[in-house]
Amino acid sequence: MRLLSLLRPLRLALLSLGLCLLAACGRPPRAVTTAASVPPPAAARGAAPREADEYTRYELLDPESARFHILYEVTATEPGATAFFNPIRKGSLASDESVRDQATAQSLPFEVVSGAQARASGLPDADLDTNYIRIHLPRQVPAEGGVRLLIEKTYQDAKSYFREGADRIVFSRPLGIRRNAIVLPLGYELIGCNVPSQVLTEPDGRIAVSFMHTGPEPAPLVLKARRLGK
């Protein structure tokens, strides 16, 4: 009896070790996630970020067109993911989309899908009222790594980019990305910017405004420029 009581802690330790081994064997390794697998909902994932290192460059085009070209750098970081979804902002008309793998400079296939299609194909928390660019990644996102993308598109959005008077333009847009640059059309000078920004001149003479935003809400950017007299 006394011997049994002495062995009890040893039995408990062995039982714990066995349970741990069983659990480890039963857990699917992350690396086997397949192309067809659907990422679990954000809540189940502990809201792990799907992307990192975002930077956006807006190039304002002809003010009459209300169009601006966007170059969006982003790293897909969800391990095992084989698709990446980039929302198309409501109110903006997108065109001229292209996607490149920054590591290889290879163009990547993509298509524009509805929110419902995004939900069904890899983005379970997609907004049903939003369209997305669904990008086919060239390889699974590695654990402890990422797939660096350059997404280009042109938006037409007269609410964000418009003329004010004869010689002024306004770019007014809340920007949620932390790192941004806005390039004025050639021949325009900066006369207003409500978000503290660096001001730089591009090699072709265009004025660029660049800022890093650290606040919790999107930066409520209002940028004004005036055509330089010739």
Binding site: I191, P196, S197, Q198, V199, T201, F211, K224, L228, G229
Partner: protein, 235 residues
């Protein structure tokens, strides 16, 4: 063993150096509440060939018994046209410019350490009474070819700012082409470009601003029937 002794000797030597020389600002200086600091400076650049800029500097004095403010002119800058106002009362204050060595004879414990060869603008005001304070505005013109100059067709304003809030207004007729430090940009009522810098950190910012001259505005096209304006030449 000799190497060890040499390293040990170096460590002892480093330890013997004054703390300030090793670490820069004191802990006390570094742990001040930046958001409550009340100094701000606005610079108004004159045309760059003058190397001159007007500035005003607002400051609240709240130390009981203090009745003068010393503005030590930065080395390399020359100050002129000093003036001062009590912003609480809207009254002009008396101002004099003295050298540091002359000041040393009349210095008070509240005064900052002034190098003997420094140029100092001294603002006099009724001594602050216990529990009260006074808001001061000191205005002057600095000339500093190193900080403010022309380079080709650009003006360059290159100066470090230590205060939490600083602003720079470009001269009339110039547009902004570069600012190394993030600034808010706006247009003054008379069409000059103003940059507002906010530095929440207890350090200095190395501001580098560049600007170019705007082309003169084109003459308005002739308006039929008014007789005003001339048709522009085709370019």
């Amino acid at each position: 063993m000799n190497g060890f002794r040499a390293r040990l000797g170096l460590l002892v030597l480093l330890a013997a150096l004054p703390t300030a020389a090793q670490q820069g600002p004191s802990e006390e200086d570094r742990l001040v509440q930046r958001a409550h600091q009340d100094r701000e400076i606005v610079y108004f650049l004159q045309q760059p060939e003058t190397h001159a800029f007007d500035l005003y500097h607002d400051y609240t004095e709240s130390r009981p018994g203090v009745g003068r403010y010393l503005n030590v002119v930065r080395k390399g800058s020359a100050a002129s046209n000093p003036s001062a106002r009590n912003l609480d009362a809207g009254e002009a204050l008396s101002v004099e410019t003295v050298h540091g060595d002359a000041l040393a004879k009349t210095g008070t414990p509240e005064d900052e350490v002034v190098p003997p060869d420094a140029e100092v603008v001294v603002v006099h005001f009724p001594a602050v009474q216990q529990g009260r304070s006074v808001r001061l505005r000191i205005a002057e013109t600095y000339t500093d070819p190193k900080s403010y100059r022309s380079e080709g067709d650009e003006l360059v304003f290159d100066r470090s700012f230590g205060r939490p809030r600083n602003s720079v207004v470009l001269p009339a007729g110039w547009y902004l082409t570069a600012s190394s430090i993030p600034a808010m940009v706006s247009e003054t009522s008379d069409g000059r470009i103003r940059l507002d810098f906010v530095n929440p950190r207890p350090d200095e910012i190395a501001v580098l601003i560049k600007a170019k001259r705007r082309e003169p505005a084109a003459a308005p096209a002739a308006t039929p029937g008014t007789g005003r304006g001339r048709p522009r030449r085709a370019k």
